[in-house]
């Protein structure tokens, strides 16, 4: 069955969600990944939205934004942003999703600016809730379009901290997060249009976990700004099932986000 790169990304994102987890859902593809997970392997997961909404059922209609009316009707709780981020700050959110313009080999994400901090060549929208999700959630899944200008050795600006960088006090990874005072967490997956990376928390480095059907490790390397490290069990990404695709297309019939 044919599918688009974005449909595959949604499937890979949904597979990051375990049943019963509290998931901080980001914009666009994660909105559909949450709906897909709910309707397949994670019927008991709960979605938290930075607008101030918590729900345990996907919205009845496709969402252009998480503040759309269908995401509010039938919610478990509609309240303020701080009330929904508070449980994340105290560790009750298992998985968070964010996207970005640039990511580096240590999972540090840039959504703020390209170039000089004071006179940027491109001013990006900024953190939104992204930096908070990256700081507080137990696991972080990053979703990005894959090309060498976006997957870089080092980002121009760390908006959302991943595993930091090696420095005089120690390596990148979980120990860096502890050094800077982050309470927990770190990236567990980087999902792109070409591949899926996981991370080695001991040094914070991204490892190629799987390459999407139709691509090769070489093609992934060409579009990646650092020298690939392969996960021991690196293999081709498991393609979407017909059922997964059917659920995605039921939820996004016009393919607004997934075409």
């Amino acid at each position: 069955m044919e599918y688009t790169p974005r449909e595959l990304m949604v499937v890979c994102a949904a597979r990051q969600i375990h049943d019963g987890e509290n998931v901080f859902v980001g914009m666009r593809l994660p909105l559909i990944a949450f709906a897909l997970a709910k309707r397949t392997h994670a019927p008991n997961c709960i979605g938290l939205f930075e607008t101030g909404t918590i729900r345990d059922e996907p919205s009845a209609e496709l969402l252009y934004t998480m503040g759309d009316a269908p995401n509010i009707a039938g919610a478990l709780w509609t309240t303020g942003t701080l009330n929904v981020m508070a449980p994340m700050a105290t560790g009750d959110v298992h998985l968070g999703f964010i996207g970005g313009a640039e990511v580096d080999r240590y999972g540090n994400l840039n959504t703020s600016l390209i170039g000089d901090w004071q006179h940027p060549s491109v001013r990006l929208p900024g953190s939104g809730g992204g930096a908070d999700i990256a700081s507080f959630s137990q696991r972080l899944a990053i979703i990005m379009q894959h090309d060498h200008r976006r997957l870089r050795e080092k980002v121009d600006f760390v908006t959302s901290p991943g595993y930091g960088y090696p420095d005089e006090h120690g390596p990148a990874g979980t120990s860096w997060r502890r050094r800077v005072g982050l309470p927990r967490g770190g990236p567990s997956a980087l999902i792109t249009t070409l591949a899926v990376f996981t991370f080695d928390p001991t040094n914070g480095e991204a490892m190629l976990q799987s390459y999407h059907p139709g691509t090769t490790i070489e093609q992934v390397q060409e579009q990646t700004g650092w020298e690939l490290r392969l996960a021991p069990d690196c293999k081709e990404t498991v393609p979407p099932t017909e059922h997964e695709l059917r659920v995605i297309r039921e939820h996004d019939p016009q393919g607004v986000w997934t075409r």
Binding site: Y64, D68, I72, G80, V122, D132, F157, P161
Partner: protein, 304 residues
């Protein structure tokens, strides 16, 4: 006290040049676009805009040259992507340079919470290791006085005026708001003055029949403006849906300075008020955005 007034007089009285203005606080829904357009028509200058994410509203004010500084977590077009006027101002100082104080949604909320509580700051552990506090130096990293661990101090932000769009209010500013609230509650308590823009003006009895639904203390409200559809193209739960096409149109038309100027002519400068705006929008489009199916809250008894 009757605080009803027109949008024009509310903006003229309570949003002078140089004001710090918290607006667009519920994130994507309930964005006070009618108020922003009046600010543009009155050619306010050197404003500081405060908000979490701004879904094209900050972009419009920046493009019109009203803004000196932005204190926000995100400035763009949620369903379309980047904000062109924000980019032009930040990258090329068109129409003028702006100062950007970067926050995250959690920290901008904490800053307003602190102001409302009368606390000078609130400590947190978000953004540790992020470059945001290195760029926005009002956010100060310290060692905890308790155990020496790293902490980030988020100083209080006290807006001169907070502008809020609500579903319904009485003439005194006792208001009901529902749906996701973003950081609206904190911004109301933090502000010196509050302007309420309401879809409906209702009798006091409607509001006091459900005091838990009330947004905040009416003694902080200086003006109540009755402006139906005043939040279009954003959504108002129970009244109208988000006009996604309008955001797309804005995104497409404002890629160039000239395109933005033309858009502004059409929708703001040559559109003196909200009635004219609705006429331009057209009955058909207005109808298509309306509520298709009502969903009423279960009854609640305050009896005794």
């Amino acid at each position: 006290m009757n605080k009803r007034t027109s949008m024009a007089s509310a903006i003229a009285q309570f949003v002078p040049d140089g004001s710090s203005v918290a607006i667009g606080l519920a994130l994507e829904p309930l964005i006070p676009f009618a108020a922003a357009h009046e600010i543009i028509r009155q050619q306010r200058r050197n404003l500081t805009l405060i908000g979490p994410i701004s879904d094209i509203l900050f972009d419009q004010l920046i493009g019109a040259g009203c803004v000196e500084k932005v204190a926000a977590a995100w400035v763009g077009n949620v369903s379309e992507g980047l904000a062109h006027c924000y980019r032009r101002a930040s990258e090329q100082s068109i129409p003028r340079s702006i100062i950007t104080e970067d926050y995250s949604n959690f920290t901008i909320g904490l800053a307003l919470l602190a102001a409302g509580l009368g606390s000078p700051y609130i400590p947190t552990r978000t953004l540790l290791g992020s470059d945001i506090p290195r760029k926005n130096t009002t956010l100060r990293a310290i060692s905890s006085p308790e155990d020496g661990s790293p902490l980030l101090l988020v100083p209080a932000i006290r807006p001169d005026v907070t502008i809020i769009h609500v579903q319904r209010s009485d003439e005194d500013g006792n208001a009901h708001m529902w749906g996701n609230l973003g950081i609206t509650e904190q911004a109301m308590l933090a502000a010196r003055d509050v302007i309420l823009v309401a879809e409906e003006i209702v009798p006091r009895e409607v509001i006091v029949s459900d005091p838990n639904r009330v947004l905040g203390p009416s003694f902080k409200v200086r003006a109540v403006v009755h402006e139906p559809w005043g939040a279009h193209p954003s959504a108002v739960q129970g009244y109208y849906n988000r006009d996604h096409a309008f955001y797309h149109e804005y995104h497409t038309r404002t890629r160039t300075v000239e395109g933005y100027a033309a858009w502004l002519e059409d929708w703001v400068l040559n559109t003196p008020n909200r009635a004219a705006y609705l006429a331009r929008l057209g009955e058909e489009r207005v109808r298509s955005l309306g509520v298709k199916e009502h969903r009423y809250a279960a009854p609640v008894d305050y009896g005794y």
